[in-house]
């Protein structure tokens, strides 16, 4: 009885009443606050990212440049005793070194650039001369000019941050017009060195690529097959639930644990029945690094693949089964191709994580100083993030800019991989 009466008494809302106006203002204020907070969060993270990039570029761009000095040199007059015929033999390097090429180069620098001349040259300067002589043996008999890398101290002085003696040298050589700056190709083609002028990222980059290849070859097929089995074939019972929980757990395990696992499993010695079995895989090699990282990213790939397979509508399976396809045909002809964009995206994100990983690789010995790039999967090598870590620990100050430059290379590789993930997703994605 009272209910309709109450309804009848209710008047339309008075939007102009002070109480209502206050409520409206509060709602608008809450809306604005939320928008400002959200924008603030974006601006903050963009600022962090921008700061990181700016510092890296500001410190790292010099790492991509090299200062070279035009060194006039006359090898014969300077007393380099070596026959032209010796240059063709494999012992040429040894012959040039023992003929005192290093001293000859230092003397030429002293003559050309003054008493401190030899200190302007990088320790690897004689290697540049050696390379030039080996390319063109006629240099042995005539006067010529070779561009050789300048020492770190000289480079710093050129940037306005060196000691006074070097700055005087820079001023003098600038007047002589002997200084040449250019793009540092050796940074992309060489490997580790003790001299910051001669270092390169190629060895580490190649190590990373080899490691990633092993990781992909193991983690992708095993991960995808596990996902297919769990989604399409496995019965739903307590055991598969247990496996699912374990996989989700494994995806969250810190990477260092996988390093310890890899160390114990692949590099440890086993005592079985009085016999000891040596390490299964060679230490410091991309092979052992790749297998360890594969263990690490496998759970990520399984989870991503399962989600992608789940996203394929059941109607596709029913239709395929309905026209007589066998279960394996359903999976490989229909479900997997449709799930592939999701699977690939998950895989590439996992691979990008593996590419940036340092901790597990430190434990299995991929942190060594190696002058040459690895020749194959079993050669000792290092990887980009570990190389960055090693350079950050170097004594010489010239390594600061090389560290930042190597970080830029790593960022570029990561960006390329994520770009590939986006491209693949857009290219193969199907909308229902």
């Amino acid at each position: 009885m009272s209910k309709p009466a109450a309804q009848a008494e209710r008047r339309p809302t008075d939007w102009n009443s002070p109480a209502m106006q206050k409520r409206i203002r509060r709602r608008y204020a809450a809306e604005r606050r939320f928008r400002v907070l959200g924008a603030g969060a974006v601006i903050l993270s963009a600022a962090f990212l921008g700061f990181l990039l700016l510092t890296m570029v500001a410190q790292g761009w010099r790492g991509f440049t090299v200062t070279e000095l035009a060194l006039p040199i006359d090898l014969k007059a300077d007393g380099l005793k070596i026959e032209r015929s010796q240059l063709a033999t494999p012992a040429a390097d040894l012959a040039l070194a023992s003929a005192g090429l290093e001293d000859v180069v230092d003397n030429a620098a002293t003559r050309a650039f003054g008493a401190d001349g030899a200190t302007y040259l990088a320790p690897s300067a004689w290697l540049a001369v050696r390379g030039a002589v080996k390319r063109d043996p006629s240099l042995l008999e005539r006067r010529t000019t070779v561009y050789v890398p300048a020492a770190t101290g000289f480079d710093r002085a050129l940037a306005g941050d060196g000691d006074p003696a070097m700055e005087a040298g820079v001023a003098r050589l600038t007047r002589q017009g002997a200084i040449h700056r250019g793009f540092n190709w050796t940074f992309l083609s060489e490997s580790d060195s003790t001299d910051p002028v001669a270092v390169g990222v190629w060895g580490a980059l190649k190590g990373s690529l080899l490691t990633m290849a092993i990781t992909f070859l193991i983690a992708f097929p095993v991960g995808v097959l596990s996902a297919i089995y769990l989604e399409e074939y496995a019965p739903k019972n307590r055991w598969t639930d247990l496996i699912e929980v374990s996989i989700n757990n494994l995806a969250a395990v810190p990477s260092i644990i996988f390093g310890l696992l890899g160390l114990a499993m692949f590099l440890g010695t086993w005592q079985i029945g009085g016999h000891s079995f040596g390490p299964m895989l060679p230490r410091s090699a991309p092979l052992v690094g790749g297998v360890t990282l594969a263990l690490m990213i496998m759970p990520v790939i399984v989870i991503a693949s399962r989600n992608a397979i789940k996203g394929v509508p059941p109607s596709i399976r029913d239709a395929a089964l309905g026209i007589g396809a066998s279960p394996i045909q359903v999976v490989f002809h229909h479900v997997l191709p449709l799930a592939m964009p999701g699977i690939l995206t998950g895989t590439i994100i996992g691979m990008a994580r593996a590419l940036g990983e340092t901790a597990p690789l430190l434990l299995i010995g991929m942190r060594a100083f190696i002058v040459t790039a690895p020749g194959g999967f079993t050669d000792p090598s290092t990887v980009l993030p570990v190389q960055i870590f090693l350079w950050s620990d170097e004594v010489s100050r010239g390594f600061v800019e090389k560290t930042s430059a190597a970080i830029l290379v790593l960022l570029a590789v990561l960006l390329a991989m994520n770009g590939l993930a986006i491209y693949l997703r857009n290219k193969f994605e199907t909308r229902w």
Binding site: P90, A91, D93, L94, A97, P123, S124, L127, D163, S193, T194, D195, I214, L217, I218, F220, P221, L267, T269, G278, P279, L281, P282, R283, S284, L287, I316, F332, H333, H334, L336, P337, L338, M340, G365, R367, A368, F369, I370, V371, T372, F377, T378, P380, S392, D393, E394, V395, S396, R397, T430, W432
Partner: protein, 366 residues
């Protein structure tokens, strides 16, 4: 209508793609098994030289490794890992064979216990080579308070239990009334580091013996626990900050905090001379000259340990050592990198040891 046709063609496309996918998966599997099979065969072939150990010796061994490859291209590059002296000698002594390192870098002498472990694992004869000297330098920022310390001050400031009681000193003034009232803050390497061991042996323990007349008696006790607790343990209640094996972090820390001191190898001090200077100990600052002639108390030899049984099996190992010996002299490339050349008599003896391969006599180890 359009949507349906789109879906149809998508299914048709993906069906074709699917067949390609099957063959691609098969190929991938083949490649994977192929690489694994290949790698299983490899491993016993001639191996590159492998060096592990001290981060202080690392820059010198890497320089030699680079010269070794540059002298004749095509040589397998030696692999040098910096994991600290203690960890390096432990891996060195694990056994003989391709999977064990050939050389251990150490910034302190091998202990008797480590040698016994080597014996136990049938490592056989070992060469011990002193490559030169290094100073354990205490340094401060150029903006710092210009402290002058004695070994006694260092001991009272940094030992866990100076004079047998827990350390309560918070400022240098608490330690020695002649010093300013600046909070004690010393950044140094962790306990796995040879630099830290050398700091304990060369500064902390001698300071302990000076400060406490009882310490000499503790040292002769059969059980070293009391002596270790009073003289060799570094405090862990804040004033000593463990900065990890990365010495650049200590250099950065000093630049940020001018009142702090850092402990590291002399080569780092030399490289950063425009930012840091050494703290004089007993009135002697760490310089090339004072370390080379033994005046500076924190001087220590740097060692290489080499397995004699690996000399034949690893190609170039003997050449590597010979090259090392030609590079460690005064004015040589290692000295340019911060090594302090050993006295001439010692260099001659070490060069002879490399040439004759005279093994280490365990009786000299402690």
């Amino acid at each position: 209508m359009r949507g349906k046709r789109g879906a149809d063609s998508a299914i048709r496309n993906t069906a074709i793609l699917g067949e390609q996918e099957v063959t691609m998966l098969g190929r991938l599997a083949l490649i994977a098994f192929g690489t694994l099979a290949l790698s299983a065969c490899d491993g016993s072939a001639t191996r590159e030289i492998r060096v592990v150990g001290s981060s202080t010796v690392y820059p010198f061994t890497t320089a030699v490794a680079e010269a070794f490859v540059n002298a004749r291209s095509g040589r397998k590059a030696p692999v040098v890992e910096s994991i600290g002296s203690g960890a390096g000698l432990r891996r060195f002594c694990e056994g003989v064979g391709a999977q064990f390192p050939d050389i251990a870098n150490a910034s302190r002498r091998m202990t008797r216990k480590e040698f016994d472990r080597c014996e136990q694992n049938q490592v056989g004869e070992i060469l011990e080579i002193v490559i030169g000297l290094d100073g354990v330098a205490l340094a401060e920022s150029n903006q710092g308070p210009k402290l002058r310390l004695s070994k006694r001050d260092v001991y009272l400031a940094l030992a866990a239990n100076p004079m047998g009681k827990p350390n309560t000193a918070r400022t240098w003034h608490d330690v020695n009334p002649a010093l300013p009232a600046i909070p004690i803050l010393v950044m140094g390497p962790p306990s796995t580091s040879g630099t830290r061991d050398a700091f304990v042996e060369l500064m902390l323990a001698p300071g302990c013996l000076e400060a406490d007349p009882n310490a000499a008696k503790l040292k002769t006790e059969a059980d070293p626990a009391h002596y270790d607790a009073e003289c060799r343990r570094v405090r862990d209640d804040g004033p000593y900050v463990d900065k990890g094996e990365n010495d650049n972090l200590i250099v950065q820390g000093l630049a940020q905090n001018p009142n702090a001191l850092g402990i590291f190898g002399y080569s780092y001090l030399e490289e950063n001379q425009n930012r840091l200077h050494g703290v004089p100990i007993e009135g002697v600052a760490p310089t090339y000259a004072s370390i080379a002639d033994g005046q500076y108390p924190g001087a220590r030899p740097l060692y290489l340990y080499v397995k004699k049984r690996h000399l034949k099996a690893v190609p170039g190992l003997k050449d590597f050592l010979t090259l090392y010996a030609t590079l460690w002299g005064p004015g040589g490339p290692l000295v340019k990198r911060g090594l302090i050349a050993a006295p001439e008599a010692m260099r001659a003896e070490m060069a002879k040891r490399v040439a004759d391969l005279t093994p280490l006599d365990p009786a000299v180890l402690k």
